[in-house]
Amino acid sequence: MRVDRRLLALIAVVALLALFIDGFAYIYRVTTNQPLTGAIRGIPTLNIGFLGFSQQIYVHKGLDLQGGTHLELQITQVRAGTTTQAARDIAVAIIERRVNSSGYAESVVRPEGSDRIIVELPGVDLEQAKQILGKTSYLTIWKWEPGTADAATLKLLNPTDAQKYPGYKPVPTGIDGGMITNASRSTDPNTNLPDVTISFDNTGSNLFCAFTRDRVTHPQGDPQNKLAIFIDKDLVEDANVISEICGGSAIITGGFTAASAQALAIQLNSGSLPGTISIASATEVGATLGATTVKLSLLAGAFGLAIVILFMLLYYRLPGLVASLALLIYAAIALAIFKLFGVTLTLAGLAGFILSIGMAVDANVLIFERLKEELRAGRTLGAAMEAGVHRAWPAIRDSNISTLITCFVLYFFGAPLIKGFAITLAIGVGVSMFSAIVTTQQFLQILAGLRPARRLALYGVQAPKAA
């Protein structure tokens, strides 16, 4: 077999593409006028307008590598009339809003199983995380009517708050946080004071319209003019209703500071969780600890790669050089795939990747051992190379497929940590097959065509004695 120009071109294109993606962060820094070292601002994104291509080029580091808090929440005591799954989805949306309004970059909120929610907050410690998630808030809007709060009401609400106005009792309006679609901090254009704008869904809008129309008939200062917002048991807001509000949105004013307006907006956005949320598991990793782990892993990876290359050169000579080159291309391609597809790298993921380096080496070792045998048997270099690759292939195929089977099982049934391991190992194994069969083989064929490369000593084999 001769050198296949098309395959060589393919290797070159893939390798260059991989190097481009691996180095893209630097291109991004240059195009956005950032220094080449230090923390990068923004996530490098590659836009190719005419192809409609837009993709983040970025290795997502898992929390164990960058520090932060990972929470697995469980939803129980789901409110009547809702399925667990539906309640979970509502809770995911609410928690997502809560997390986003706190402005934490790169946070993750996603459902897991039928009743779980995974929350990942990079750079946040557990105490902060608990504050962001807040208590299991249940928001309700009440009105004040003449009378005395009965025992049932006092059970639902904080007694001091429920008896704020002697002679008046809180009466539910039927409006709760589930009807709020959005709340945000805003500014009163007349007074320039901070306030909070909320938007209701249809049901909420209608109820709120009727409620305010009724309240506004009472004079200012009368508790019956007020709108009482309770979160869980506590009265958080007791505002005057100045006019009827029927447009589906409302503005709450009343002596806010910028911070307290922001806090109320977050609380309103938090809405009413459709059940009780408890922490099923939590992991917190200090930022420096994560960075140390990354350093150690990189060191181990570099050290491992160096040992492998040294070993290959000493043991397999010229083919070892070829394999080392193939190995570097392999590492560049694998890294590019991690970046391009946003694979989240965790400690277990790094372990999977390092293991896949071992398997990539193995494929080369298998080919070279066969190559040596064929050379000893007296074949010509070209024929021996072809036979070497050909006869090593079934072993490479079967061993890698069984590894892929394991990865598949781990990915679909495993815990998140195990998933991270499975995905990097699977990518590594896939790329290593390309590396061994296409890259190594083509490079060997180039060698076979070069006169100085034909000395058998370069392959660690003595020329067979003439029979």
Partner: protein, 289 residues
Amino acid sequence: MNIVGRRNWYFLLSLAIILPGIISMAFLGFRLGIDFAGGDQYNLAFTQPVQASVVQKEMDTFNVDATVQQAGPNGALVTTKPLSSVQETTIRADLAEKFPLDPSRSSYAQVGPTIARELVVGAGGLIAIASILIVIYLSIRFNYKFAIAAILALLHDVFVLTGIWSILGKVFNSPLGEINTLFVTAALTVIGFSVHDTIVIFDRIRENLRQASRLTFEQNVNLSIIQSLARSLNTSMTVIFVLVALFLISPVNIKGFTLALLIGIVSGTYSSIFNASPLLVVWRRLDPR
């Protein structure tokens, strides 16, 4: 070299390593990490040396079944029964007040009892499912005898690893021998590697059997092992080099992980050379069809 001829010695060596492990597993069980037992774990890093016994004394005042282990001169690993949110906050504040704690290098994990139960079932199930699928694949590519021999070699490695872990955790009472999610990951890696290694030798046997030769089945298997020996050792050595390096530099929380990989890879190499292929010969003798 006659590896197949001395197979009984090699089986005996495997047994000598596995038996104490099985006895330990049967009578002492495992040292379960919080992933499986449920509970809270503080991996504390200090800015100056602190004795674990001092931390233990402090933790005992909270009455939460705490065990404290030294983790390097400037570190301690505190494991407790499941804590409530309030308890957790109180303990954390107390530790930060009494000891020179460095929060940015510390970590903390909490696992509720429900999750722990799921993980135990999950890990065992994963190994079973993966094994079954591999048996099916190998039965198609080779035949069922090869497939079962490969799985026996795989189980050998799983038993060596879990047995040593039981002894480490329970007999030597070392935190390294803790069964946690990382250990399960390591075990799964070992399974992948073990099968990978075995298949390479089996492939050689398959190839040699196809060629007409005057060799007996036994001689054929032995020849195949010898022919793939250089490859088996070379590949394993490179992986072992990398793992030894990883083990030496890894921080406490992942030392157990790298050690498990190291033991598993050594066992996997051994079992594919000295157990899996000789098993084929034993089987052929019992059932010469």
